[in-house]
Every structure is written in C-alpha cells, then in structure tokens.
Amino acid sequence: MPCVPISVALEVDPPSGDSQIVFQLDKICNPDDTAEWKIHFELQQKNAQGTLAPVVKLDIDINKEDHPAAAATAAHGLDDDQRAQAQIAGQTALAVTTNDATEDDAQTQAGAIIPARNPNSPSA
C-alpha cells in the first residue's frame, strides 16, 4: 500500500460543559514512501472569565520505526499514563510562563509522553 496522506481532527465538548478536547492526527508521507504521524492534543478549560483557554497543548511527532510505543499510540491513541504525562507536560509548559520551570523542563516532559505508555496497553 503506498503512503497516502490524511489529516483527521476530532473535537469533543464533555457534558460538564467546562472543557473541550481537541485531537488531530496527521499522516505525513516521505519521499521514500514511509509514513510519520503528528499528533496534536489540546485540552481547554473554562477560566474565571468563562472562556475556554488551553491547559494542555501538545504536538508530538511519531515515527513508527522509532519506538513500539509510538506505533501503538498511532494505532490506539494515548493511554491513561500517556494522558497523565501529557497533562504534566502541559502544566510544566504553563509553569515556564511564570518562571517556575525552564524550557528544558517542558521539553523533557513533552518528550516523555510517548515512552510513558503502559506496557499493558494495546500494542500496534
């Protein structure tokens, strides 16, 4: 099967009415016909003013050849541990804006999302 690009986004407003989840999965094709995936994950929550503001905003590049956890993520989505790590990465990124964390801290935490996949979660 030749690699064919596609981009799919899903937005969900949970029934609580105070948040929004955005998930986008892009398939990128390379000249050698291999595929890479980009995941955009965004969690927005209502602030004191009642408007939705990003709490977690992540862009993750997944090369299936790199890591079994990456392939599993591209096939099944983020598991419990990865979502928790994604939240931590988002919190750390937010802390950078108040000088409570560094850019390095934020990048390290973002890079830990894919490896955080629980070994018991579905594999690719």
Partner: protein, 704 residues
C-alpha cells in the same frame, strides 16, 4: 423569493464542485512517484458543507499552504498542507453549538502529466448534537432528513437563512423563511425570526432564546425562550387569529435509569389576544399556563418518546381558569440498515468498506396522539382542536421537542376535522390520532466518498481520536471519585517536602572538583523536583488524581535516585553534614512515597478507573452512535418511496373515525429535502375531496 435563490446558488456551488471533481482524473500512482513534477494548481474544496468557504475562505487558505502553484511537487509539503487545512478549518470555522465535530482533509493528485500535477485537497466536516440529553427530535431528524441533520448544526456563528415552503389545501401554497443568529443579549444567546404567508394566512414569530448545560442529573441541558407569535389561519369557513407573548423554560435530564431514559420537562406562560367565531369567547384577552413532561430513549436503531402536556387557559374575564387541556403524544421510530460487523480484533475490520457505499435504510415512524379539554368556562375557538395535515402543531410554541397539540391526518386539509360538521360548532374537545410512515431508500449516494474508506481514516477517527477523547473524559470522572481523592492528602505532604527541597537546592555549594562531579546530577535533580512539585500541586489542589501513578512511580523514584547519587558523591569530611541532610531528605521522601503507594493501592484505583471508564463510555455512547451513523449510514442524496396510513377521530363532530391511506416519495439532495405524496380519504364526507396532497420542502445550512 430571496431564500430560494440563495438555495439555488448554494446548490449551484455544490453541483459545480461535484462536476469539477468528476472531470478530474485522479493520478494512478503512489504520491511519492510524482516527486519534483511541477505543481500546476492547488485547490481546496469542501463539497458537503462549507459552501461559503468554497467561495471565499478556502480559496484564500490555498495560497498559504506550503505547496504552491509552480513549485516542484514535494510529498512532505503536500502532506503537511492537509494538516494545515484541518487546523485552519477547525479553528476558524468555530461551531458554538455542537458537542462533537470532526474535520477530515484528504488530499489527492489529479490530471497528472509527464511533468506536472494538480493538487486537490478535499475537506469534510460535520457537527454532532450534545453528548447526552440528545433529544428524540434529533434522532427523528436524522431518520427523516439524513443528509442535513448534521449540516444544520454546523451552520452557526453567522446569520442562517432557511427558506421554507409547504402546501396544504387549507392554506394553499405558503412560504416564508426563518432567520437565525447567535446574539449574546444577557441570558439570551440566539435570535430566531420566522414568518410564513399565503393568500389567506399569515404566521410569524420572533424568538429570543438561551441555552446552558448545567450537567446536573435532572438538569443536564436547559433552554429558555421569550417569544412573540402571531397567527391568522383559516379553519374551514372561519379564521382563527391569535397574538401572544410567551416565556418558556425547557430542560432535559441526564439518563435517569438503567434503560438509559431521558426525562424532558418544561413550561410556559403566555398572554395576548384571540379572535375566533361567535362561540364561547369570540374576541377576548387570553392567557395560559402550559406544563409538559415526558420520557425519551434510544435502543439500538430505534427511538421513542412519550409526553404529557397540561394547559390551563383563561379569557381573563369571569374565571381564573376557563379550561384545562390534556395532551398525550407517543412516538416510536426505527431504522433498519446494514452496519459494519467489526467490534474488535480479531474480527475482520469491514468498516472502511462501508464508507462510500450507497446506503438504503428502511424506516418506520409511528405516532399516537390524544387530547381532551375540560370545559370550566369559555373555550376560545383558537384553543380547540381542529386537526388535519399540518406537519407541525406544537403544543407550546418554541418548544425544543415535537409534541403535537392537534390530531394529524394526511388525507384531510389543515384545520378541517374540527370544522367539517357545523351542526357541532367549530373545534373539538377530544381526539385521538395514529400515524404510520414507512419508507425505504431506493437509491442514493453515500455522504462520504469512497476515497475516505481507508484504514487510516477509520483508525484515526475511531481507534485513536475517540479513545483518547473518551480517556480524557474518564480522567475527569476518575478525579471526581471520592475514593481515590483521599490520596491527595498524602500527595500534599510530599509536595511540602518537595518545596522545601526545591528552596534548599540553590544553597548547595561545593568546591570546584565536586561541582564538576555533581553538576549533571544537580541539574537533573532540580528539574525533577520542579516538575514533581508542579505535579503534586496539580494533584493536591486541582484534583488531577490521574497523575498520581506517574508522580509516585516515576517522578519520586527519580528524585530519590538523584539524592542517593548526590550523597554518594559527597565524600569529603566537610561535606558529611550535607550528605547526611540529603540522606535524611531522601529517606523522608522514600517513606512518604511508601505511605502513598500503600494508601493508593488500598483505595483500589483500578476499580475507580473502571467506574470512570463506564461513565465515559455511557456519555460517549450517543456521540459514537451519531458518528457511526455519519460514517456508515448517511447519503448525500437519496430517493425513498414513502407509504402512509393515518387514523383519527374527533368529538363532538358526529363523524366517526377518519382514515388516510397513501404514498409518496422523499427526495433528499444535499441540503434540500422534499417529501411529496397523496393520501386518500376513503370515507369521504359531503363536500370533502377524495384526499389531500401533502408536500414539504425544507432547506438547511444556507450561508450568505
């Protein structure tokens, strides 16, 4: 008619897009085989919904993509363009009403020559109704007008003009339009103006409404209306005139039982003036209180709703209450359609094959209505029962549900059952009616194209997107579980230790040799403590309990390992107090972590996660069902023969049960739905026709 021209214009765009797409020849090779050929053209089209954007927004967007006209074709830029379009459509064309929406961009290469290619991105999107509290009406809308139910929900954020035209023998052909918009005005956030007129009738309504989602068990969704209405319609030889101002409140609960039933309830108070015939109160002020309540639910491909309505009305003259009206409305609809058999591996995944396949659903719609008016004083003519083939007869004007206040029979023109025997006056005080509509789509074309029927598309949406979104919802419910929340006190205790350690780290000073040895460990320790403190704060203060396993199993062990390593590096005599202090901090953290682990395991978080997953599954069930409908059931156009049977009776009329037997056809074309048919009146009364034509044209999703 302006609205109709708007319709035609929009359809013209749709046809143009379709014809263009048909003329293009899709390049047969794998995209990477066209690398470096000259890009002759870059187009973005959205054949289904964004007609306005097809004219304007998408054309501008095409010029901002990484791959431009004249460039050598680059498959990476070509791929990245799809993601950029999805992001732009998702963030620019914001939908303020739906609870779930997907956007798909599928690129393809067309009209390839030896040295050139044309790039064509096709965008598909749709909105879904709220996750829970989704009403029977939405489901029925999907059954009756499958090609447009999602489209109307997507048409928010700007003025929405919806032309309407209907025909019945009483009012003849009558048409008008509805203008809708989102307008934040205090507690109101929507504006709706509707009008319809014919040579002998005029109706109109101006409606301000607000909606909220309190998400409580008994008040999941709420909406309120302030509505002014005017109506002047014939009923046999007379005219019924009424002008009212009404305030109403309507609400839907979450599922209230294991059978997944929803409760809906509401009420309205209204006052105004009415004019009827010289019977009881021919010309009077008028006021009423209406209350309505009922249950609705879905099981598999079927949906049902049962409602009861009570109206207490007065002419505001001699009595507080002149009459009490009771209404019962029961409906059951079912659709039969082949769906993918796939559930989970190792089943064969047949889902991609269903996308782009023509769908031929069989639908059965049933309805039973009954009404009774208790006469205590005067009953205004406009509040009596008349019945006939009017497609809408809401019990409360502006109600979000279709609860009829009149009998429905398609063989007799509007308002004629209660006015056909003058010996019994005008308007009945009791009725029942029963309606059956059966249809089967004879042919049609799938809403989604076959080219989307790939494992990648199905995987991205169903295997990756939905589980991740559902997991995030599960995290919210997990955090609300009081059993696992008990762990937050242990985390708070560790957070205090981490903050103390964080404040001490900058004061650790060593000689140059030791500094060189421990600098990497110190840096790592500083980073780990910072992130763990942030995590602990989120768990303890913001109830992000789902982060607890990573906090105690990954973050704290890394910190204690770094403290160990640092302590072992401090061997000089003058470093002994620091090493001892670090060891005591490390031991204290280890003990606190051990306490947390034991407490956490005792709280049985696995069971709490199962409970949270079950709640998330439940909340997503309706949305997943609609998604499946969209992916595997809907047609962009369809033609469905329709068979109808009605029975109705009204008292006092001196006439027995009336019947309607007939058939017709339902045509759905992108945003236009036309149902036309004829119902015979097998037991004709003197002066009555052999039957009646029923016709309904409705248009949704018009932009300007």
């Amino acid at each position: 008619m302006k609205g109709t021209l708007g319709t035609a214009a929009s359809l013209g765009i749709a046809f143009t897009v379709t014809i263009q797409a048909q003329q293009a020849v899709v390049c047969p090779g794998a995209p990477n085989t066209y690398q470096d050929r000259r890009v002759e053209k870059v187009d973005i089209t959205s054949p289904l919904y964004f007609f306005f954007a097809a004219n304007h927004g998408l054309a501008e967007l095409a010029q901002t993509l990484p791959l431009k006209r004249g460039d050598p074709f680059d498959i990476v830029k070509y791929s990245e363009g799809a993601g950029q379009i999805t992001t732009k459509v998702r963030t620019t064309f914001v939908d303020g009403l739906s609870a779930m929406r997907f956007v798909v961009t599928a690129p393809r290469l067309e009209n390839c020559t030896a040295d050139s290619v044309q790039v064509h991105y096709i965008v598909y999107t749709s909105a879904f109704p709220p996750l829970t509290g989704r009403s029977f009406e939405t489901r029925q809308n999907e059954l009756q007008r499958p090609a447009t139910a999602g489209a109307e929900l997507g048409a928010t954020g700007r003025f929405l003009f919806v032309p309407d035209f209907e025909y019945n023998h009483t009012r003849r052909g009558y048409g008008g339009m509805s203008v809708k918009n989102q307008v934040p005005l205090g507690i109101f956030d929507h504006f709706d103006f509707q009008t319809a007129a014919s040579s002998d009738s005029l109706t109109g309504a101006l409606d301000l409404s607000g909606t909220r989602t309190p998400a409580d068990q008994l008040l999941n969704q709420a909406e309120w209306h302030l509505r002014s209405t005017y109506s002047d319609v014939p009923a046999g030889p007379i005219h019924l005139k009424e002008g009212k101002l009404a305030a109403g409140f309507f609400a839907t609960s979450k599922e209230v039982s294991a059978a997944r039933l929803l409760l809906h309830f509401g009420g309205a108070v209204a006052g105004g003036h009415q004019q009827g015939v010289a019977q009881d109160a021919p010309n009077s002020s008028y006021g009423d209180l209406k209350l309505v309540g009922g249950l609705e639910g879905q099981r598999g491909a079927s949906a049902f709703a049962a409602s009861y309505g009570l109206q207490l009305g007065a002419t505001l003259q001699n009595r507080t209450v002149d009459f009490a009206k009771h209404i019962l409305d029961v409906r059951y609809n079912v659709v039969w359609l082949q769906m993918p058999k796939y559930r989970k591996p190792p089943d064969d995944d047949d889902r991609p094959a269903f996308i782009g396949r023509d769908h031929r659903p069989i639908t059965l719609e049933t309805r039973l209505n009954a009404g009774y008016i208790q006469k205590l004083g005067q009953i205004p003519a406009s509040e009596r029962f008349y019945g006939g083939n009017q497609s809408l007869a809401p019990f409360i004007d502006g109600q979000p549900w279709d609860i009829r206040g009149e009998p429905y029979i398609r063989s007799i023109p509007e308002n004629r059952i209660g006015s056909s025997n003058r010996a019994f006056g005008f308007g009945g005080t009791r009725f029942y009616s029963m309606n059956l509509t059966f249809s089967k789509a004879a042919f049609g074309r799938s809403l989604l194209p076959k080219e989307l029927g790939t494992p990648d598309f199905v995987n991205a949406l169903e295997n990756v997107g939905i589980p991740t979104a559902k997991g995030e919802l599960s995290d919210t419910y997990f955090a609300e579980d009081p059993k696992v929340q008990a762990a937050s006190d242990d985390v708070a205790a560790i957070r205090d230790k981490l903050n103390t350690l964080k404040s001490e780290l900058p004061s650790l000073k060593f000689d140059s040799q030791t500094t060189a040895q421990v600098s990497a460990t110190l840096k790592s320790l500083g980073s780990e403590v910072t992130v763990a403190a942030i995590t602990a704060k989120a768990i303890a203060d913001q109830k992000k309990i789902n982060q607890t396993p990573i906090f105690m199993n990954t973050q704290i062990p890394k910190i204690t390992a770094d403290l160990d390593k640092l302590g072992q590096s401090l061997r000089a005599a003058d470093q002994a107090p620091t090493a001892a202090h670090l060891k005591s901090v490390r031991d204290s953290l280890c003990q606190a972590r051990q306490d947390l682990v034991e407490h956490w395991n005792a709280l049985n978080p696995a069971e709490a996660r199962v409970r949270a997953n079950q709640r998330a599954d439940k909340d997503f069930a309706a949305a997943e069902k609609v998604l499946n409908t969209f992916l595997y059931q809907l047609n962009i156009y369809s033609v469905a023969p329709v068979a109808v049977f009605d029975a109705a009776r009204m008292w006092p009329s001196g006439i027995g049960t009336r019947y309607a037997v007939g058939g017709g056809v339902r045509l759905s074309l992108v945003v236009v739905n036309l149902t036309i048919g004829y119902a015979a009146n097998p037991l004709r009364r003197p002066g009555e026709g052999p039957g009646a034509l029923f016709l309904k044209l409705d248009v949704t999703n018009l932009f300007h």
